[in-house]
Amino acid sequence: MPARVALATRALPDLDRRELGAIFLGGVAGGLLRVWLSRSFASGPTDWPWAIFAINVTGSFALGCLVTWLRERPPESTFHHPLWTAGFCGTYTTFSTMQLEMLVLLNHDRYALAAGYALSSILAGYLAIWIGTGLVRRERATA
């Protein structure tokens, strides 16, 4: 069935200034850390992109822990939650740079490396979320 996309009427969701401020601050920290790390551990166009790989996996682990810690413990914070989740972790990790690195590897005929990079990033990122979530839930259960 072709996707007939019907949009409802609401123009903008309610935006909380405090929430946006928290996301901005988290974004500044996450962006600075990623740019600094990716410049310090830069890799060539035919190398395994270690910096972004490590950033995406560690950021996913942090998000798994933080989102479980902050969301599954009421009351939900309107500052700490956006600061750490959409702000810091969302900005620290990146999708577009990873895709560009894959495209560059493909252009250099490094097909196995590109596929390995994509698969291992997704597998490790997924496991990092799962492990982070599990650790926090178990901690909670025994506390």
Partner: protein
Amino acid sequence: MSAWVWIGVALCSGIAAIGRFVLVALISSRVVTGFPGAFPLGTFAVNMTGALLLGLLAGLAVEGDALVLLGTATLGSYTTFSTWMLETQRLAEDGQIAVAAINILLSLVVGLGAIALGRAVGMHL
């Protein structure tokens, strides 16, 4: 890299994070029919548009400080890997394995297509 560029990185990252949040909130607050209800369309839209624009920058051969500011800082921050993984894991945890798998495959394939398309367009501009 000069101190001014680092200040620029900080500002671009913060603004891009807000841009991502607002776009995701905008898309999530609307009822979209024709997609599985649980599909994380907001993050998908952000990552695909970010990939397209980064491809465009690459095609236009943007380099140096401009590439750091517009590419690594702005578009790198606008798109996200961790939220994509979190939403996928939570879908799988809820038993929506098919939607989780579609979220991974569609993002990878469409993302790669978007960045290649963006670059091809940029090269011809």
